[in-house]
């Protein structure tokens, strides 16, 4: 496979990344335990899971930074375990490592050119600067940028060789909500340009918003895969009617005969909805003072999917 074109993958020719029964052990500790998945050209694939689930280990195997203990991983038709294939993979992938920082005292433009010079072909730095919306900061030293802007430099650096697939490892961890949205905007632009993106994240909303396909990993194993809608439909549970700020008093005012309601953190009442029940419940609420409250129908999220599959939620910090 190392000479010239990669060998075709029988029945899987459309797969940019193909992982089969992949494992990674560190002594007795199993970081990745026999996982399989595929990544099709042009899609945004989110590898979703809490810290320590095996996301970074997996992505670093695909980036040829770690050697797998078992199974197979093929990237762009090349085997990550073969030394000769690794050179080909490195030419054609883009990588944004977790917690990446560029070189402090180089400007945005110089950093892009620095990493670009590692490749035979590099994209024009100014075009990349435009893509990540950093025109005003082009000649600013990296160390003077805010966290969100730094991450956008990282994204530009990961694209500098016009890669066939981009690996983004936790690209928004530690950013404030606005900076996260900005990074999402860049990833959406990549998606619209037809780039294939492999994204690891512990943010459920991020995966739901950006990904075409989500694989949820926990304790080194993939526990569910599919589009966000498929996962929510199959594992998310029911829609919920939320009555904002109703509190204990509100619970007492609920008419009899409704599904079992619960009080959530901020004093919200949550009532699970079964098919066709919404109208009846709303009608019954008009007979109480609760109809003056803010009422919302909430669709299950990937958060609920993870909760239903594992029995726990993932915190903001990813634990």
């Amino acid at each position: 496979m190392s000479n010239g074109q990669p060998a075709p993958l029988p029945g899987q020719s459309d797969k940019i990344v193909l992982v089969e029964n992949l494992s990674k052990k560190y002594g007795d500790n199993i970081a990745v335990n026999g996982i399989s998945f595929g990544l099709t050209k042009g899609e945004v694939f989110a590898f979703l899971g809490p810290n320590g689930a095996g996301k970074t280990t997996t992505v670093e195997i695909l980036e040829c930074l770690r050697n797998p203990t078992g199974g197979q991983a093929i990237v762009l038709g090349y085997d990550v375990s073969k030394r000769s294939d690794q050179a080909e993979i490195r030419k054609r992938i883009g990588v944004l490592p977790q917690d990446f920082n560029a070189i402090d005292r180089l400007t945005v433009r110089e950093n892009i050119n620095y990493f670009g010079a590692m490749f035979k072909h590099q994209l024009d730095a100014d075009k990349l600067i435009e893509l990540v919306d950093l025109k005003d900061k082009r000649d600013e030293q990296f160390k003077k940028l805010s966290g969100g802007l730094k991450q956008r430099v990282g994204l530009a650096v990961s694209l500098v060789n016009d890669p066939d697939v981009v690996f983004l490892d936790e690209p928004t961890t530690g950013l404030d909500p606005r900076a996260r949205r900005d990074v999402w905007g860049v990833i959406e632009r990549l998606k619209s340009q037809g780039k294939t993106v492999f994204l690891t994240t512990h943010y459920m909303d991020e995966a739901e918003y950006l990904a075409d396909i989500v694989s949820i990993i926990d304790h080194g194993q993939i526990i569910a895969s599919g589009t966000p809608d498929q996962l929510i439909d199959s594992h998310g549970g029911k829609k919920t009617l939320i009555i904002r700020d109703a509190g204990e008093e509100g619970l007492k005012q609920l008419p009899p005969g409704l599904p079992k309601a619960e009080l959530r953190n901020a004093g919200d009442i949550a009532i699970p909805l079964h098919n066709g029940e919404l109208t009846n419940i709303l009608m019954s609420l008009t007979k109480t003072l609760l109809h003056n409250k803010e009422i919302e129908v909430k669709r299950p999220t990937l958060d609920d999917v993870f909760l239903n599959l594992t029995g726990r939620r993932v915190s903001e910090e990813g634990n």
């Binding site: 980036e63 930074l65 770690r66 990446f100 035979k120």
Partner: protein, 372 residues
């Protein structure tokens, strides 16, 4: 496509000159040291301790010619002469006993009994110079004794060659403290920029995930190391030129840049980053590696004769100094730049190159390019 190695060098260099603290530690601090030490010690010469036994007495007083020779030695201002009583039958034992508690080199010059008579009758006389062959000062000291002796003999007789036992002809010059100090400052700068440079690039860049990012590109570990060494060579050359120019402009220090100097710059640019890479691999945290670099460089600076001749060190420290790589860089730089001792410079350059090869290979092997 620009060369990857050129890009690495250029990236390091830009990061260097854009940091005020880097400029301070690489350029301003050594110059500040030169000014301070030059002002404090600049007027004094580096003097060699030398024991002298004048056995040529007449009625318990030195004969005029032997006393004249002692004066000639004194006039060089190169020696701190310590007199050994003429009646001491075992002068060497006396010197040994006296030198050790005073941390002096064990060197003895004996003017034998009959020195004046021999000069007057046969016009030939011998003096004996006893010293340890491994004494770092031996070459310079012999040269100065020789020069003083030849000068004294010429004063006595036009055919000076017949008068005094000849030593191997060595050109010496009056070495001031500042002449001694400047190569030491260059060595110190090469040490600190090399070790800390490598610790920073391999420790801090690892923490910032820059090395991880580079490892996912076609850049190889060897190219990365060559880039780092190339950058160190540029920095070493700048340090050398700036310090020598400053030494010449302020203190009139004249130095000879020769092939050995260049060899030592190459050796130091491999050796000290190599040591830094080894440290960075054993101490993974950047801060810890920085502390380890301090712990290594500071003792080495003092023991390797950067500020004062190693003669002044206790014996045990002199032994330890022999294991300090900086010792050979400092000695080599002094031999090449100041003492004009090509043979000694060659030896030290070869030792430094050998150590450089060892450490750069060890550092390269230990350095994790991939994650495991």
């Amino acid at each position: 496509m620009r060369s990857r190695i050129y890009t690495i060098i250029s990236g390091h260099f830009k990061s260097w000159y854009r940091s005020k603290s880097n400029i301070f530690w690489t350029i301003a601090f050594p110059l500040l040291l030169i000014v301070l030490f030059g002002a404090i010690f600049g007027s004094g010469s580096t003097k060699f301790d030398l024991y002298l036994q004048n056995q040529d007495l007449s009625a318990n007083t030195p004969t005029p010619l032997s006393q004249g020779y002692v004066s000639a030695l004194n006039n060089t201002e190169a020696f701190n002469l310590h007199m050994v009583p003429a009646e001491q039958t075992n002068a060497l034992a006396y010197v040994k006993d006296d030198a050790q508690p005073h941390n002096r080199g064990q060197r003895l010059l004996v003017i034998p009994y009959g020195f004046q008579t021999m000069l007057n009758t046969t016009r030939q006389a011998k003096i004996q110079l006893y010293m340890d062959q491994s004494d770092q000062a031996s070459v310079s000291l012999i040269g100065i004794v020789n020069a003083a002796t030849v000068s004294y003999a010429a004063h006595l007789s036009p055919s000076a060659d017949n008068v005094i036992v000849q030593q191997v002809g060595i050109v010496t010059k009056n070495i001031r403290y500042i002449d001694f100090f400047i190569p030491g400052v260059i060595g110190m700068t090469l040490l600190t920029t090399g070790v800390f440079g490598a610790v920073n690039t391999n420790g801090r860049y690892r923490e910032l995930k820059i090395i991880k990012k580079l490892a996912t590109t076609p850049l190889s570990k060897i190219e990365w190391i060559l880039g780092m060494v190339g950058y160190q060579m540029i920095l070493a050359t700048i340090s050398l030129v700036v310090i020598l120019f400053f030494g010449y402009a302020i203190f009139g220090v004249t130095a000879t840049i020769d092939i050995y100097t260049l060899g030592l710059v190459v050796a130091a640019s491999l050796l000290f980053p190599g040591i830094g890479m080894v440290l960075a691999n054993f101490v993974k945290e950047a801060e810890g590696a920085d502390a380890a670099a301090n712990a290594i460089t500071f003792p080495m600076m003092f023991l390797a004769g950067t500020f004062w001749p190693r003669d002044t060190l206790p014996d045990i420290m002199k032994i330890i100094a022999n294991f300090m790589p900086l010792t050979y860089v400092n000695d080599g730089l002094r031999d090449a730049l100041i003492y004009a001792q090509p043979a000694q410079a060659l030896t030290n350059t070869l030792i430094a190159l050998g150590l450089a090869a060892f450490f750069i290979v060890l550092g390269s092997v230990l350095m994790n390019w991939k994650e495991e």
